[in-house]
Symmetry: C2
Subunit: 479 residues, 2 copies
């Protein structure tokens, strides 16, 4: 992976220089990376952790980086010498990639000397925001497609090379089964797929000749794009003519692809034509500005589509092109001792942060195995599964739920200790298997596309008290 | 720049293998890269060309790429050996970065052996789509800001590292004046800016102490974020107290930043407080979910803001996160001789492509120097500026305009010849100066945010005739 050290906002460096100048560099800070509530997304599929760990454990300024920073005339030599040896030496806790996470829940928690913890903010947000955004969008598309497969092929519309590459990986974590992206195939072992474009057909004197040439070269992978001229009058009949020749030569065709027009109508007609011609196993692949809503609508209309090719709207998460993740200070451990919890207030109560070093428990119903609620706790709190557990809504505190037959699971684990990875990252296949189990552990009510149930994310009584005491104290002091 | 060779869709490779197997590799194809009409964008600011040229002139498969492709079991050894030596050997024509372009107009035209021309599609679209999208969005933001400066600081919300890096460059071409992105500063020489975050303030016992510490370290670059606790009751008064101390020590403050709340109200109040305290030159910087519409609205309310910090909505082009550029076959020169123009039909007449090898002329009024219309012509057509020039609407052909006192300019130039760059790319400063002249050469009517005038893009009579004859011919043959 490439070096992301300089991929930072200038103010991280001005603040680091500031902490150093104030003699604060031995203070230890805790920051949480999390997402806030928003109208489009009720849950997220965490992704980007492998890239994030790689980034954190390879931070290092090169001599040319230092030279550039010197040229800005903002920093003194003490700071530049400090940067020459700058490494990350702290601890990082994170939920595994593929975990379903909810607003307010720390996806990553960093505990490190203040300059190091502060420095991570920009690149960490960049990487985790993007991957989580696309994995989340892909999970919705895959949810809409149900048992059908989804192929990601948005590279040409992705916001730059990395967006295509890491977007393809995130899409697989979210539930896609293949990509058109050859580099993603090579680097991440993702199955790659793709056949031909309209230009192939246009480059032959006729559609039939184009199909025949393609079938001769790929007799066992023959999937033909049938909408260059007229899908039902020309494309499908020409495809069937070539399929007959293929079969006569001892091969079975793969199927056809529709890329325009009324996909519900065309797929039903094409299905019947293929069936009647003796090709019930030939698949129909559909593409063309698809997203989860259009797929759900087409399926509800009885469209006969086996494979969905999804491009622009998935790879850019077009209805919400940024997840809005933030990285907020939660606690400070001054070098001279003690612990100071930190909170960011706002007139908008959804934007008030949760203070202190925390972790999240997920509560499962023992019988169904399904997730029932999450509880954000102070680090070190324990839950005894033999005792009933009562949780309450963090605003409407009269809304209470008591669990008696339950298990709990800690969502995050330590992934970096003293600057070193705790364990190798899981393979992408392992991440996908875990992500699938995660999705299965939630009732459909939380995942459905329209008006999903809002999943409970409550604060432990201890955390609730810490938070509300801090709010009162600050308001009394400042106003 | 990193190697983008493998950043391609699999079907480019399956088609190339197909052309090779059909003995077609010596046919020469012409492809156009252009944008279609869409509801959000009436003009685009072309960008990404430098990166595109770098990509095209450095294509090359490594042994490990070949090994990976062999493992797919799709390709024979003849094709893999062909890829080992694969280079781009053709010609590329492009409009300079910063050119204002309109739907249908070729931004890039590739003329090369068919496999090479086909291969470029994915990465070229990826790079040019993204950069042009962000440059265009930035031009709207800069238009709304008028004489005020705009700082780009969306890195943390960009769709991956490249989106942040190349997005920052594109934002500068579009009209931003600085970025928070340190890597973009280093690589592209863009001015970098930034001061401190809320976490800086939260890390001190009080806001005043945080401000004082910052001012001591950066006495000549002291811009303070004043909304951590309460902008008007705490932030601005504390800033003024520190500014007084700064001035007493012989320094002048830079200003303040507002990052939340009602920016119109707060900026007017803060302006008055700063003025009354003797700081009329202290600037007010505003940020917080800004885009061109919000900036225009705030300015119309008389907000007193000097510098606009724009993040998420610019770096993701949130209202249109993909420009939908396409790369379409326009002509074919078979190895055995001749020229075959190519057209892609569609039921949607906006999606019918313009056939043939083409170029675009821009027509300027000689008196005002302003652009009046563009004319897409067959390559080789000439316009004699001494003769009157009549153009007509490509659908409503009765809409005609005649120019008598005009000059014309060819929009594109050859940038790659025989696989080699024709000239070094201009510096970013040169690109920005050109982009600014481009913007100035259009009346505001075409650039305004609401209901802009639609700029005329017509076809020359020759191209119009070629196109319509092809449409008639194909419809007679196929239906």
């Amino acid at each position: 992976m490439k070096d992301l050290t300089m991929l930072t906002d200038l103010y991280q460096l001005t603040m680091m220089n500031g902490y150093l100048r104030c003699g604060r560099e031995k203070d230890v800070a805790v920051f949480d990376l999390f997402f806030r509530k928003n109208a489009v997304i009720t849950y997220s599929v965490a992704a980007g952790l492998e890239q994030a760990i790689d980034y954190i454990t390879h931070i290092g300024f090169t001599p040319s980086d230092i030279e550039y920073l010197r040229s800005l005339r903002l920093f003194d030599e003490t700071f530049l010498r400090y940067l020459e040896k700058f490494r990350f030496t702290g601890d990082v806790y994170a939920v595994p990639e593929g975990t379903l996470v909810f607003p307010e829940e720390p996806i990553i928690t960093v505990r490190a000397p203040i300059c190091e913890a502060q420095f991570l903010e920009t690149a960490l947000l960049n990487v985790v925001n993007h991957a989580t955004l696309i994995a989340t969008k892909a999970s919705k598309v895959a949810y809409a497609a149900g048992e059908d497969s989804v192929m990601e092929f948005g590279l040409r519309r992705a916001q730059g090379p990395d967006a295509g590459l890491y977007g393809a990986r995130a899409a697989i974590i979210g539930g896609c089964s293949s990509t058109s992206n050859v580099l993603a195939g090579k680097l991440f072992g993702i199955p790659v797929a793709g056949t031909h474009a309209h230009s192939w057909v246009m480059n032959f004197p006729s559609e039939y000749e184009a199909f025949r040439a393609y079938a001769e070269i790929y007799p066992d992978a023959c999937l033909l794009l049938v909408d260059t001229y007229d899908t039902l009058k020309s494309g499908v009949p020409n495809a069937i003519r070539v399929f007959d020749e293929l079969r006569a030569a001892g091969h079975e065709p793969k199927g056809i692809r529709l890329d325009s027009g009324d996909l519900a109508y065309l797929s039903k007609k094409a299905r019947r034509m293929l069936d009647e011609a003796g090709y019930p196993d030939a698949i129909i692949c559909a593409s063309g500005d698809l997203d989860e809503k259009l797929i759900a609508s087409l399926k509800s209309q009885g469209a006969k589509i086996d494979l969905w090719g999804v491009g622009t709207k998935l790879i850019t998460s077009s209805d919400l092109p940024a997840l809005g993740g933030v990285y907020k200070l939660a606690a400070l451990y001054p070098a001279e001792g003690g612990e100071i919890n930190k909170i960011k207030l706002s007139d908008n109560s959804d934007k008030i942060t949760n203070p202190a070093f925390k972790e999240v428990f997920r509560i499962y119903d023992k019988e169904s195995g399904k997730a029932e609620a999450d509880l954000i706790c102070l680090k070190g709190e324990e839950i005894d599964e033999r005792e009933p557990l009562t949780i309450f809504h963090p605003k409407d505190t009269w809304k209470r739920t008591t669990f008696t037959n339950y298990t709990v699971r800690r969502l995050s684990r330590k992934v970096i200790e003293g600057g070193k990875p705790v364990a190798p990252s899981p393979s992408l296949a392992e991440v996908c298997a875990y992500a699938e189990r995660e999705k299965q552990s939630f009732w459909d009510e939380y995942k459905r596309l329209d008006n999903p149930h809002i999943y409970k994310v409550d604060l432990s009584e201890k955390l609730y008290n810490v938070k509300n005491e801090m709010i009162s104290e600050i308001r009394n002091k400042n106003v």
